[in-house]
């Protein structure tokens, strides 16, 4: 029964919140208050599911049955719990940040912005708690559609172009590959439920299995596996809070989350053995290629976007190794990358708001004016490179040890090279911000830190990348359950 008491409210809270936000259209303060209250309520609701899940329970709920045998059903398992916690927790921080950003930049259509954000979170919760492929697909497509108005928020020709790429790639891949894969799964397995150990019949030919895996992995365009990664940099035309929560956390994590979930609960690690070499290859290529593009990108948000593309493929590659340890690493990376990357985006948005600077080459000496912002940036960067005591070290360590375990030379090489590349595209920014003289010392456009709400948000997330390193117990406990179950 806990399922119905908590899962359905977790879906309903952001939905009702979006209605509340829309009703407060004319009262900006009230509207932002509704957003904050909704996000806090959602987090409390999601967090109160955690004890039960840690104790081994799997709360369930069921809504409707659109097709016979294919209900819209929810079940909270460890991976979904982790994803929902991360997304709903960061929504609170992001809402605080958005208030500063949207007001600081005098953005238009702010009500639409907050409404779509709440709807996006409802879709994310639906994805995280989905008990079968059909429910996952329903909310996956909903997430694409409700984030489209956010990507095209500015309504300019550039935003429209970005929106086209966004839709074409996300809807295109999900319809062309993911939907046929789901229907095929239903056709051969007679169910689309997520079950530990997988649901596909054992007698499936290896070739069919490989095609199906490819359809699923490329079908989940949100995981940004090359060559279907272009939507992510295109989405950077959105306001920074959107890039931060959705395109560093919610949407992209929905992608890799779905990929991990399908590998673990639809295929099963044992059944896939031996048929994921190509996936390791492609994800390895994505990691390196995207890092090189990031290295050459001068636009800060573009560099962060390509860094995300590369980091997402860590999750895919770790999953494709198919050992319990590597899947654990994938799950942990899903969480720690979220905290690191959102900090970096918050910093980029703060710089844009007060200094109107968007390029890396303009950031000389900015750390002296914005010490809090750039310190948090440095923490986030350390986490993504994987240097202790930042949380990114955890996942990198686990990924490295699982590669050593299986003597995967290619994986090992990719991890080492990409770590160097990560350092090469992040550290110069930190160095320039703190140790270079400003280009024009007597800049007429004198500025200090960003509005307090933005600074508060990025300090919080920056601090969390460190805190997560020292207090990783329940995180580890949760992901251990994930692999124990399968």
């Amino acid at each position: 029964m806990t399922g119905y008491k908590l899962i359905l409210p977790a879906l309903a809270i952001p939905l009702l919140g979006s209605i509340g936000i829309a009703l407060c259209n004319r009262h900006a303060n009230l509207r932002e208050a509704v957003t904050l209250v909704t996000s806090v309520l959602l987090f409390i609701c999601v967090a109160s599911l955690l004890p039960a899940v840690l104790a081994g329970a799997r709360p369930q709920a069921q809504l409707l049955e659109p097709l016979p045998g294919l209900p819209i059903a929810f079940e909270v398992e460890p991976l979904g719990m982790l994803f929902a916690l991360v997304a709903s927790g960061l929504w609170i921080v992001n809402s605080i940040y958005s208030i500063g950003y949207m007001r600081g930049n005098k953005e238009a259509h702010q009500t639409r912005f907050y409404v779509c954000f709440a709807l996006a979170l409802a879709s994310v919760i639906g994805i995280a708690f989905a008990a079968n492929l059909i429910t996952l697909f329903l909310f996956y497509e909903a997430l694409t559609l409700v984030t489209y108005p956010l990507v095209t928020h500015h309504g300019t020709a550039e935003a429209k172009r970005g929106g086209r790429v966004y839709l074409a790639l996300l809807l295109g891949t999900s319809m062309l590959f993911l939907l046929p894969a789901i229907v095929f799964t239903w056709h051969v397995a007679g169910t689309t439920d997520f079950r530990p150990g997988g649901i596909l019949p054992a007698q499936l030919a290896p070739a069919t299995l490989a095609v199906l895996l490819a359809l699923f992995m490329f079908g989940i365009g949100k995981a940004a596996l090359m060559p279907f990664h272009r939507w992510l940099p295109a989405a950077m035309v959105a306001p920074t809070p959107v890039s931060a929560l959705l395109h560093a956390v919610a949407v992209v994590k929905a992608g890799v989350f779905s990929a991990v979930k399908i590998v673990v609960y639809v295929f099963g690690l044992d059944q896939l053995a031996g048929s994921t070499d190509w996936l390791i290859g492609i994800s390895g290529f994505t990691i390196i290629a995207a890092s090189i593009v990031a290295l050459n990108a001068d636009n800060l948000k573009r560099r962060l976007a390509y860094s995300t593309v590369s980091q997402l493929s860590y999750v895919i590659m770790a999953t494709a190794l198919l050992t319990p340890l590597s899947v654990m690493g994938a799950a942990i990376h899903l969480a720690v990358h979220a905290f690191g990357k959102i900090t970096l985006f918050f910093a980029a948005g703060a710089i844009y708001t007060v200094a109107h600077k968007t390029e890396v080459s303009q950031l000389n000496g900015i750390g002296r004016r914005m010490p809090w912002t750039m310190s948090a940036f440095a923490l986030g960067a350390l986490s993504l490179i994987g240097i202790p005591p930042a949380a990114g070290f955890l996942s990198k360590w686990i990924a490295l040890s699982s590669a050593m375990e299986g003597v995967q030379v290619f994986v090992l090489a990719v991890l080492i090279v990409s770590t160097l590349l990560n350092a090469a595209y992040f550290l110069p920014i930190v160095h320039a911000a703190f140790f270079r003289e400003p280009d024009d010392a007597n800049d007429a456009h004198c500025h200090g830190e960003a509005p307090w709400s933005m600074v508060l948000a990025l300090v919080l997330t920056g601090g969390m990348t460190i805190a997560l390193f020292f207090f990783s117990d329940s995180l580890l406990q949760l992901v251990k359950q994930l692999v124990a179950a399968s």
């Binding site: 329903l138 809807l171 062309l176 046929p180």
Partner: protein, 494 residues
Amino acid sequence: MSIALHLPALQVVIPLVSAPLAVLVRRADAAFLIVTAASWAAFATAIALWLGTGDGATISYAIGNWQPPWGIEYRVDRLSSFVLLIVSGMAAITLPYSRTSIEREIPHEQHYLFYAMFALCLTGLLGITITGDAFNIFVFLEISSLSSYVLIALGRDRRALMASYQYLVMGTIGATFIVIGIGLLYLMTGTLNLADMAGRLAQVGGTRPVLAALAFLTVGISLKLALYPLHQWLANAYTYAPSAVSAFLAATATKVSIYVLIRFYYSVFGESLVFEKLPLPEIMLLLSLAAMFAASAVAIFQHDLKRLFAYSSVAQIGYITLGLSFDSVTGLTASIVHLFNHAVTKGALFLLIGGAVAAVGGATLSRLSGLARVMPLTSFGIVLGGLSLIGVPGTAGFISKWYLILAALEKGQWWLAIAIVASSLLAVAYVWRFVEVAYFREPSADLATRREAPLGLLVPAWILVSTTLYFGLETSVTVGSAANAAAMLLGIGK
């Protein structure tokens, strides 16, 4: 004698009687009330009949108590009651809408004639669906066709006359082919009752006249259902007809023709003759694919929103005939359920566009620039309807697409599954043309002074939009009926 026994006759008689009554009263208000009441009564009758066939029963009714096969038999089974439900339901929703919408489109003194014609058209469509007599099908087909030519010609744009004339020529060719086909069948079997005919065809099936009859009927009905490439009449007819007429015809006329095709194929000629001995499935598969891709591609490049969605209809009809070509329970289920889903979706879209046309004066995309700013509810409804055409999960269109893909995979045809989803991407392209025009452009000075459509237009349209969403999540009525009907037609699980 309880009245329930006469429901099959009342289904046709009530709207039929309302037509002359509307002419006799000669007043727009009174005519509106009579015809609307008749359409609601017809809808209630259809629901009662649908419930009556729930256990797979077939209701047979002898008109004038002349027993079949000599008299005319009305025959209601799971399939026909489902189509009756679609037709009468759409009429019950478009008629209240038409009261507001025709104010601007048709001179007031002609309103009673409009209602009379609408009632006749409804009568014809219901009659085609309910009758179990081949010649009676032709008679009702003519009633519905002639009245729809008049309805289309009532459009405000003078090009409506041309569109109506074009439809008249094509429709008459189609009707002629159909009557030749029925004549040949009569020649070979000596009966006009469909059930009786099916029994007698077993002895003469495969002879040349029967094959000729099949060919004439296939081509004739395909003209009426706008199977690619026989769809030329459709775009102009939908574009220039009055809004309420576009919506009603788009939702029902082609659907009833598809019903007739299914009826002749499965209940008269029999599955084995049509789908196993002849290369009809292959031909139908190719034409369906051509419709799905060519018509969608044409839709992308239209400048008029009504015309855009008219071509989209041709493409969506391709989905329905594609389902038929599989000749499997799943494929047939997909076709029948898409009859309903597409009717509701297209009905909603044309009703909403009607609201925009009433405010803006036309449906060309350039005039609709910035529509979302001025008419947010209309625009958002069009987007939701568009999502159902694309087949986004949570909308009715997704349900149809699911069964179509499943049917393709059951036949082991991967490439067809990919083709189905690829063509739905073309739908994304044409739906997003509207999105970008309505949401990303500034409204013109003229449009900026307009307001959201009146409630008389919005409420019926949004009832259909909600129906589209509802039947995307809860499908026991639609999929349940379609699966039963498909199993019955294929003689499985009877």
